[in-house]
Point group: C2
Chain length 167, copies 2
DNA sequence: AAAAAATGGTTAAATTCATTAACTATTTCT
DNA sequence: AGAAATAGTTAATGAATTTAACCATTTTTT
């Protein structure tokens, strides 16, 4: 056994848990790459488009299932939903403002808060990307039926609940 | 209905397909954040650690199931497995070389190729992170039994096959 | 065998996304 | 009234990423 690289060392075993992790990460990567290719044609990145979807209040976003939410979203809420820091959100919002896709309005009752909204141009981008997005996703999952997808969703939500409630 | 943000516009419907996508992306984000917290203590990023795992030939990596592979990995193979560009891999490898975690060796039969290997220090990092990694993942999936995990893995692999074979 | 095409990798320049630390302004709590 | 928490920004920095152009080597084509 002269070549260490040919076979995995014993402490690196094949397990279903670790396979799951790698496959989730890989799939997310592919989805992001897919998203980039589409969004690029509309002058936004996937990350920016995700923010636009938040401002459009896409009901499929997990954050909106956890937190009821009646007013336009805040930067701090975006940070929480995207699991990034507030300064990062500030950055992204500046870019989107420069592109004139979003606008901010002072909150009526709390002067610290700024409510975020799409401009007409912002809505237009969301509207244009939507059919491509729906078509792509239907294609991706077309090998699976409703109950299978439901079960898969439960699994994902179970993991997410666990991981976000951890400490 | 004066406030557009309160309710989602009709063209943004709630569907299981779109919910699945968001949940996969969210879970991958959380896993990456988790990984960062662990890896940080060992002086590497999650991305760098993933590369180390490739050089260690972790059998759980999906790429190794698709491509049989008897010699130490190449930069171009890493790029394919990680779904990033070759220059990006060059960058990451430079960082890891500076940290003395990897080394490159000329291929015997093709002078263009460089075979990538872990240094003893690199193996040490992989070895140290491994138990934490296993413990964290067991915890994450402990609500689910073997058959459920198997089914979930099938789902992920099905999606990945579809998405990577697309054009 | 010579020319063309493909492959493996790097360099350079730029962008995006992200972080931490320090700060301002405002609101809430005690 | 004073202290603590909350919302957001600025500044400095770094990691990961891309595209375009390039070099060297191998493989394919003619």
């Amino acid at each position: 056994m002269s070549n260490k690289s040919r076979n995995s060392p014993v402490f690196l075993e094949k397990t279903i848990d670790l396979s799951l992790i790698f496959n989730i990460l890989d799939l997310a990567n592919q989805l992001k790459a897919n998203g980039d290719k589409i969004c690029q044609q509309y002058g936004v990145t996937t990350q920016q488009w995700l923010i636009l979807l938040h401002l459009a209040h896409d009901p499929n976003i997990p954050y909106f299932e956890r937190q009821e939410h009646s007013l336009p979203i805040l930067a701090s809420e975006l940070a929480e939903s995207l699991s990034v820091t507030r300064p990062n959100v500030t950055n992204l919002l500046q870019t989107l403002s420069q592109k004139e896709l979003i606008e901010q309005m002072a909150d009526q009752t709390d002067a610290r808060r700024k409510r975020l909204m799409l401009t007409e141009k912002g809505w237009e981008v969301v509207r244009q990307i939507q059919p491509i997005r729906i078509r792509t996703n239907e294609w991706l999952f077309e090998d699976f039926d409703g109950p299978q997808k439901k079960e898969f969703l439960n699994f994902l939500q179970g993991c997410l609940t666990r991981i976000t409630h951890a400490k």
